[in-house]
């Protein structure tokens, strides 16, 4: 990593990873910092999306073909991360559904989605 061209290459060709870091950061920040419960769940989703993108990027290889095996068709992109992420997306959707169901219940009981207001009511 001492040569200049390689460093330049790192900067220009790895933009997927910057997107991953950005998504993870935005997601985690929203999740922790936003007082709104729905926005927290949105933050959670963005955080997970960052991880999905990370996996999908792992599967890439330059010059790789879609992994439909034909004679002389290689090299192929790795199909494994895609399959893993399909599963992880399903998990993420179920989590969002449960989270939103809980939020509906909280809202109907306390009439607020604001974490700080809720805390005041909650510990009474």
């Amino acid at each position: 990593m001492t040569a200049d061209p390689l460093q330049l290459d790192l900067l220009t060709s790895r933009y997927n990873y910057y997107a991953v870091v950005l998504l993870l950061g935005i997601g985690l920040y929203t999740l922790i910092e936003s007082p709104n419960l729905v926005k927290k769940v949105i933050g959670m989703n963005i955080f997970q999306t960052g991880i999905f993108l990370f996996f999908i990027t792992l599967a890439f290889r330059s010059g790789g073909n879609p992994p439909v095996v034909t004679e002389g068709g290689g090299p192929y992109a790795s199909p494994l991360p895609h399959v893993l992420i399909l599963t992880a997306i399903v998990v993420g959707v179920s989590l969002t559904a449960v989270a939103l169901a809980l939020i509906v219940r909280i809202y109907s009981e306390y009439g607020t989605l604001d974490e700080e207001t809720l805390e005041g009511l909650y510990y009474d």
Partner: protein, 497 residues
């Protein structure tokens, strides 16, 4: 069928979980029966599997017949067998308790069985991504169960649990991504060799370790990642808090041990002392902070929750020491803690029903009003402190011996201190129960029934029997330690070389 035991252990509860939902079309009280039948089958399967492991050694199963290491592998060795047996036994106990204590809805028992499936899956899997999926199944079912409390505060506790738990599981998944990038495989046995080939000091491997262990620490509820736990335990129905306090953190701690020994292996811990020290440090802080927080609680269930933070810190410390004797101690304490903590939550539920007492102050003089439950509570508490001959003593003793052998003096100091602190919060309760003037009058029993989801304030023989059985087991399990030791030495050496 006998060849398919490992996968049946997961499939049976999943199938069972669908039945109460369908049965809801005809009756809304079918759940308990279905769950009980399913768990009996589960217990029989676990017993058959135990027989197989004891005669034939480690059982490996390729799901769907896909060639290993490409397919998903299920592995059952001594360590996972102990945890499977624990899951099976505690689920039956909780069912006996929930029969009267509720909740009685069909959907509750569907989630209950789904949780059992998730926990069993986490225990038997030999694949790191599969572990993530079961971790999330466990999580989803646990969030739903916590929210099944009648009060809306249960929903708040469940949402907090969900958000923190999801971040933990996501970090674990990210770690799996790094491990996959380093090795190109997800199978645990395959990973252990390929991680070594990739070099233990490679950034990918170190990041994978940090993220995977960090993610699981959230699920184990190590300090300072424990914040979801007290609310979740205190606001859920008694049956649920007994169930998840006994099993969810326990199985996550097992998964952490599995990662340490089957994926990263002890050589990694030796090659990267910083990783071991980080783990020891987190565990030690957990032990001390958990105990200190427990001492300062007035609500008994919250105190028990913080006590879990401390006791599981102890288990993780034992695993991090990673000598055979320390691992045996950690496994014994893992199992012992599950039985005792489940029993304590169940007993606190009975005491609340019979007397209305929920706080340390309220427990004053209740020893005579609810003799069986209070007596069991006291025995379990002493077991948790580590008074011989209870199982809590054996576990702590072995971890201590292991830490001394390994020369990890900070762990030794923390261990001794923690026993003192555990005594501090449980002795206070014991003193209240038996030697203090009652502060709650008899009619208080009916006043505070709001927390219960169903079943009012009646206590059934089944509920009492479960609590007494837990107290008896807390002492009797000591006799099973040599058998466990035999099982572990037969199957663990490959993990500990």
């Amino acid at each position: 069928m006998i060849d398919h035991l490992p996968v049946l252990l997961v499939v049976v509860p999943v199938l069972g979980a669908t039945v109460p939902l369908v049965a809801s079309l005809y009756t809304d009280r079918a759940g308990w029966g279905v769950a009980a039948a399913t768990m009996l089958v589960h217990a029989v399967l676990a017993a058959l599997l135990a027989q197989q492991v004891r005669t034939g050694g480690v059982v490996s199963y390729a799901v769907g017949g896909f060639a290993l290491p490409y397919g998903i592998e299920l592995v059952v060795d001594g360590l996972s067998l102990a945890v499977v047996a624990l899951v099976s036994a505690i689920s039956l106990g909780v069912l006996a308790y929930a029969g009267q204590a509720g909740p009685h809805e069909n959907s509750f028992y569907s989630q209950f069985l789904l949780l059992v499936a998730g926990l069993t899956g986490m225990t038997v899997t030999g694949d790191v991504f599969n572990l993530y999926v079961f971790l999330e199944i466990t999580g989803l079912a646990a969030y739903g169960l916590v929210a099944s409390g009648r009060e809306a505060s249960a929903a708040v506790a469940a949402l907090k649990y969900l958000i923190i738990g999801t971040v933990g599981a996501s970090l674990y998944l990210l770690g799996v991504g790094y491990a996959l990038a380093a090795t190109g495989t997800l199978n645990m046995a395959d990973l252990s060799t390929k991680l070594a080939a990739a070099g233990y000091d490679s950034t990918l491997v170190l990041t994978a370790f940090g993220l995977m262990v960090g993610g699981l620490s959230v699920k184990v509820a190590l300090f300072p990642l424990h914040t979801w736990q007290p609310d979740a335990y205190a606001h859920s129905p008694d049956s649920v808090s007994a169930f998840i306090s006994a099993l969810v953190s326990t199985v996550s701690a097992y998964a952490l041990a599995r990662l340490l020994f089957s994926v990263f292996t002890v050589e990694f811990l030796t090659a990267v002392p910083a990783a071991r020290w980080a783990l020891v440090a987190v565990a030690s802080v957990s032990i001390v902070a958990g105990s200190a927080l427990a001492v300062s609680q007035s609500n008994v269930q919250r105190m028990l929750a913080y006590s879990s933070v401390s006791q599981l810190g102890l288990v993780i410390a034992g695993f991090a020491v990673a000598t055979p004797i320390a691992v045996l101690g950690a496994t014994v304490h893992l199992v012992g803690h599950a039985v005792m903590k489940g029993g304590l939550f169940a007993a606190s539920g009975i005491i609340e029903r019979e007397t209305g007492a929920t706080t340390v102050g309220g427990y004053a003089g209740m020893g005579s009003r609810t003799p069986l439950a209070a007596g069991s509570f006291a025995v379990l508490a002493l077991g948790m402190v580590g008074v011989p001959p209870a199982i809590g003593f054996v576990g702590k003793w072995y971890i201590l011996v292991g830490a001394i052998e390994a020369g990890l003096w900070p762990v030794v100091a923390v261990l001794l201190l923690s026993t003192l602190l555990t005594l501090a919060y449980f002795a206070r309760l014991g003193e209240r129960l038996y030697f203090a003037e009652a502060t709650i009058r008899d009619e208080g029993a009916v006043a505070d029934g709001g927390e219960h989801t169903d079943g009012g304030t009646t206590v059934s023989t089944g509920m009492l029997a479960v609590v007494v059985l837990a107290a008896v087991l807390a002492v009797a399990l000591t006799a099973a330690v040599p058998a466990l030791e035999q099982l572990l030495t037969d199957t663990l050496p490959p993990l500990l070389q």
